[in-house]
Subunit: 503 residues, 2 copies
Amino acid sequence: MNEPSKKSTKPDAANSANNKSSSKKSHAAAITPRAQDYSQWYLDIIAAADMAEHASVKGAMVIKPTGYAIWEMMQHILDAKFKATGVENAYFPLFIPESLLKKEASHVAGFAPEVAVVTHAGGKKLAEPLVVRPTSETIIYDTYAKWVHSYRDLPILINQWANVVRWEMRPRLFLRTTEFLWQEGHTVHETEAEADARARQMLDVYTDFAENYLAMPVIAGTKSPSERFAGAQETYTIEAMMQDGKALQAGTSHLLGQNFAKAFGIQFTTRDGKKDFAWQTSWGVSTRMIGGLIMTHSDDAGLVLPPLIAPTQVVIIPIGKSAEELTMVMTAVKKLAAELTAAGVRLHIDTREHLRPGEKFFAWEKKGVPVRVEIGPKDVAKGSLVLARRDTSAKIVCGLGEAATKIEEMLKTIQKDLFIKAQQQRDNNTHEISEWEEAKKVFEKGGFVRAWWCGDAVCEAKIKEETKATIRCLPFERQGDGEGKCLHCGKVAKTKVIFAKAY
Amino acid sequence: MNEPSKKSTKPDAANSANNKSSSKKSHAAAITPRAQDYSQWYLDIIAAADMAEHASVKGAMVIKPTGYAIWEMMQHILDAKFKATGVENAYFPLFIPESLLKKEASHVAGFAPEVAVVTHAGGKKLAEPLVVRPTSETIIYDTYAKWVHSYRDLPILINQWANVVRWEMRPRLFLRTTEFLWQEGHTVHETEAEADARARQMLDVYTDFAENYLAMPVIAGTKSPSERFAGAQETYTIEAMMQDGKALQAGTSHLLGQNFAKAFGIQFTTRDGKKDFAWQTSWGVSTRMIGGLIMTHSDDAGLVLPPLIAPTQVVIIPIGKSAEELTMVMTAVKKLAAELTAAGVRLHIDTREHLRPGEKFFAWEKKGVPVRVEIGPKDVAKGSLVLARRDTSAKIVCGLGEAATKIEEMLKTIQKDLFIKAQQQRDNNTHEISEWEEAKKVFEKGGFVRAWWCGDAVCEAKIKEETKATIRCLPFERQGDGEGKCLHCGKVAKTKVIFAKAY
């Protein structure tokens, strides 16, 4: 699967940012405002929320517990959705013999420049170098060829959760790292129609996940031929808009056709006794999704997480000066915590003694916990407490008895509001454009351009060269609605596409 | 963590066995009886249950869905147990700069001979070769050194689920593969006592998991100095006995002392304002546990799984010739399935049309599903069904209304009985021995020898050279009970140990 590499315009300053985060003093480190320096803001958010840092190995990332917990949430949700469609998990080797990688010509052309190669092992030089998987089509399909003999062996519906390595010259935490974590699904089918339906079904799973869990609106569509996955017949994608107006490819699903089946000899006896090559798909999302999540919702005060993906949805901060006050407060806290836990809410009670309440508010704000509960002796006396929303900073006072219900409602509201806000931001920065000069202004400023495209790869390449904008996708919903003039060359065009600069 | 390598006495024939399993005809492939050829039996079980096979890369393994589902069960149970002790998950890089691996002298000595090395990446030769992690102490502690400044930063309680690579000359599915999956926990503490308590606590988690979930009785104890993990101050282990009387090290937990802290500079300000090096632990279990599970319970008919680790606990086989019969049977099946699912039982209904009931019984027997439910039109007419136990082959007839309850009871009974059976097998093959000649006979035949050991590594080495038996552990429960004569040299000995040949 492809995670497009992209030239960054500014150096990655994460190392210095992370040195800050490694000390407990990091809570005091300021977050650069988005308006001032968007790239630095992104790195500051990661450091302030203590999510990840660069490792000693160039381009590699340490995913810290706070960041990894988000990945675990993503895995948990996606894994259940995959299994609900009949997919099973398996595990294939990390190392791919160089000769296997070379079997599908366009695939090796796409990946060869960025692979890491093992040449020595067990104290000896290897007879054949081993490539550390950049994606697993080749090693998996070499195995599938042994499994598939008859239509009765199909479909194969397998996914694996794994690490992959692609050498990155300009690493950026979560977005581009030499090693990243992902899932890659690999299915085999009797017919093209069945394979295509599966590729689209998995894109639908990604769309559902992005929109209904990450609160990240996406545009689903087809990639232009030049942006396809290396070796695919068709690549489907979901594209999200970040707050700076750039696109992020959040997940892709490929109809591989019979390309790999022919290269690896995945052949089967059909229902009518003939021999045919199998039809395949592959599809994946990675830890890059965490980068997209950060850039969709976070603000100048820190990370903002939609409740459905937040490892901690509610933080309760008991306030009290004396032991007596704290005992009284904790009684109310424990009752509320029990109610919330019973309702399936993921919560944390911050009982640290060496921090003042204000410091705690500040710390959890940076970590993006959706709802903060403040409760002190005066609140208990009045039978109330304070709920604060991370996304809007709005505070409400509510009765102790109704708090659990109010919190559950608030979580639902935040989830919905974050999606609407992101959608508005995207729609406000999406422009239906027919004039090339106008389009260039949008690319400069940031945003999506919806326009006609003649379908010529040369024209597409010129646009990229001039502006760095690429065709993000041919949106499913916008095809077949007539014709117009190509944004760049002015020729007759029947394809409507989204152009944008991208991560 | 260490997974001891071991010279196999016979070549691994899994490739041919797996070619059989890759075709649907594999159900007919015979399983070599244990008594005839234990090694071949092990490989036949894996092939017959369709759990794993060798990949194109020498020594690497493809874990197929049936095998991987068992690993997912293991992960699920262990992960919850780790988290219950305060451990969080994170993720550290796959590649370790060679210079980092060399920082702890005895560690590099232990692992250097078996590492795989990346020398080229991104089309260029690397300035410094990168080692593919054989274990992650070095890369993680290099990072911890940046995180730890004060006692307030401690403890650090982190685990990662990852793949590791150790070059194996004689691979064997699950037991020794060049790449395997595992978890590795890495904790940092203020004091030796706290670190030691954590190392023992995690061994207790492994003991609980092995005995109460895998139904695999283990002996917990300390490794002799020569069998310690490379770089550890003390290694704790759990040792299980396989059906051939050989030992399998099922999990280890290491008190690392300050060895790595000194090598990597993990230093902190103590509560009384001084500087000290931190105290550390590491602990892990791997996919090798699946090999142990297979060899503890399986029989000549196929895999046998304890219900608590079985991905599918119950298989229901509806029997009927006509559509009418099947409709009637399926009504009863669906009712039972709903009751079992509500009770949390993991079940599968085998509705395949191209297989006869007998073929299905046979197929599920090989896959080790603990309980089989047979139900046909005559059963429904009588209001009853048949339950068959995988472990004993015992069948009982029970009423439809009481079936769910009976099945739940049966699952509990199987879990308990498998543990008792394995414990008896182990106890029957464990001998309290003081004469060297007698011990040699046990090593020849297979079994554990409980004996006195003088404590001399030279004596230990001689025993290994003569018999291939090693000290599996100094059992916790048997220390301090007097003295005797060393099994080998006859000198005064105060340490009671378990000797055995091991996987």
